[in-house]
Amino acid sequence: MRRVCALALLSATFWSSVGLAQDRFNMVGEIDVRWVEASGPTSYLYGGLGLLRFDSEHQDLRLGYLMLAPQFRITDILSAHVVADAYDDHDRNFIDLSEAYLQARPFPTGSIRWSAKAGAFYMPVSLENRGPGWTDVYTITPSALNTWIGEEFRTIGTEFEARWLGANYGYLGDVALVAAVYGWNEPAGSLIADRGFGMTDRPSTLFGGLGMPPMEFYHQVDHNPGYYAGLTWRHHDILEVRALHYDNRANPSAMTSTATAWRTRFSTMGARLEPTAAWSFIVQYIDGNTTWGPNVYFDEQFQMNYRTAFALTSFEWQRERFTVRFDDFQTSQISGFYGPPSDVVGHAWTFGWMHDLGAGWRLAAEWIRATSRFPQRIEYDESSGLIESQVQLAVKYRFHWGV
């Protein structure tokens, strides 16, 4: 009887909130078309070893992206989110999903607010990609760190968050603990081992691949669930600090006919300081390693350490935003040599400008200059050390629609 009553109560709560929910369906969409001038070797997206999105053979007029992010409120506390992207770079599907998940956020009844996500979504690492559909709000191209997060990682599983709401205790801020369990991400680590860090605004999609031949990251190879756990601290609307440890717990010798598993672990930490409404400062770093292959002889197992950090300054003045970022990145192979080491060491400067034209229209311009040393380029008859440069001028239009 008690169970029946509980069910009746739950059902009444569910349907009463369905009845009241407004704004049931809404969608954000954005199209980005750009003019690109690039110099440097063929981009890894087109089968080369260049670290940027475009190159001298793939430039001029390009589709930056087309993004559609519909959201459906099933009840007052349960919502469904989908993000679909198109990049027009010969990926398997012209338009593909990059996120699809359900989110539950019950009203807090005490100092802790619980929330949960289930499905496929980005892990809470980037302090730059805070726009709709995980777009960068400071400049066109995210840092090497967040480019990589977008390329190889998607949580396909469940994430829980417990947030302490400080305002009720006289503290203007929150502290949140986040933890997730996931699968279908064992190939994560293969791209960084192959290419090192890159800098593109071209994240992977759930059913597509990156590069030529395409590398895919969302496969279940073994049945070891991975996890991450992190902490977010927000202080006075001024400072946000994030720390997270990731381990996909893959068995590095596991493989299927379509994918191999990479044991990838890292720790990351970052802070975003916004001392006034106009100024933003971000620093983030990541440090980790990846392992692949059966551990018969230690020397034959491929092992690589990697780390990257960036510092970003952004200033917003009326309709203008100016951003400068410095990225430093390094991968170092420590075993499993079959040729030149797959090490990439480099740094990059990014200068960005955005202008808000109003009514959803924006202009964005960006210049990236990346200097890197990559011994494997010698096999492509290229110089090991290179300077790549890319100038982009984008026109963006964003719309919101809801019923």
Binding site: S17, L20, L172
Partner: protein, 227 residues
């Protein structure tokens, strides 16, 4: 003549000094109608500070229930005003004039309530029938924090951009209380007993002794960003 004027100025200075000296103690004499100016440690005006004046307990009578109405608006992902002071019994409307929906809630002991996801003026007003601080949040936008200060005091106000709050109380003894989410001074030091005399135009300066948690500064927020 000038000597008399100089003597008068000297006397006036002495009176001001005496008055300010007494301010340091917990009780002093002031004239009817009271302007309270709140200054931070560096002497800068502090806006948005709640100031209430309640008759001292010896003369206090039970306040009549208020049937007043007030509005806590929502604009640019913020509660407007961020701090609202109302008397017990006031009904507060929560219109959402943003482009996105909000889910307003409070789990403060003085008032627990939830307003299901909405835009515009969907929900009836909420009556605040207990004194105390009600902290408001939005379940979708965690950075949205607002405060409703529900008071039994018959006289109350909030400091303006110059840090001044003007209360319309008559002569008598009052317990004066200050509150702001940005003030870090111990609450005990933010309550004083004052005597308001029959003459008009009195003012009291209240200098905080500790740094503010932060300056109250409105931050424009974008509806489609994650915060």
């Amino acid at each position: 003549m000038t000597q008399i004027a100089a003597a008068a100025r000297g006397f006036a200075k002495w009176i001001t000094f005496a008055c300010l000296s007494t301010c340091a103690s917990s009780s002093l004499c002031l004239a009817a109608g009271l302007t309270v100016t709140v200054l931070d440690r560096g002497g800068h005006a502090v806006p948005e500070v709640v100031v209430t004046a309640a008759p001292t307990p010896e003369v206090r009578t039970a306040p009549a229930a208020s049937h007043a109405t007030a509005t806590m608006d929502q604009h640019d992902l913020a509660f407007v005003p961020q701090v609202l002071v109302v008397s017990v019994g006031t009904s507060v409307e929560f219109p959402n004039n943003d482009t996105v929906s909000h889910q307003v809630y409070s789990f403060s002991p003085a008032k627990r309530f939830q307003l299901a996801l909405y835009k515009g003026a969907l929900h009836p007003p909420v009556t605040f029938d207990k004194p105390g601080l009600v902290v408001l949040g939005c379940n979708i936008h965690d950075q949205m924090v607002g405060y409703i200060y529900v008071t039994e005091a018959p006289f109350y106000g909030k400091t303006d951009a110059q840090g001044a709050a003007h209360l319309t109380n008559g002569p008598g003894d009052y317990v004066l209380t200050l509150w702001s989410p940005y003030i870090s001074d111990p609450p005990a030091t933010l309550t004083q007993t004052v005597h308001v005399g029959a003459a008009e135009g009195s003012s009291l300066k209240f200098q905080l002794t500790r740094d503010l948690h932060a300056r109250p500064e409105p931050r424009p927020r974008r509806a489609d960003w994650e915060y």
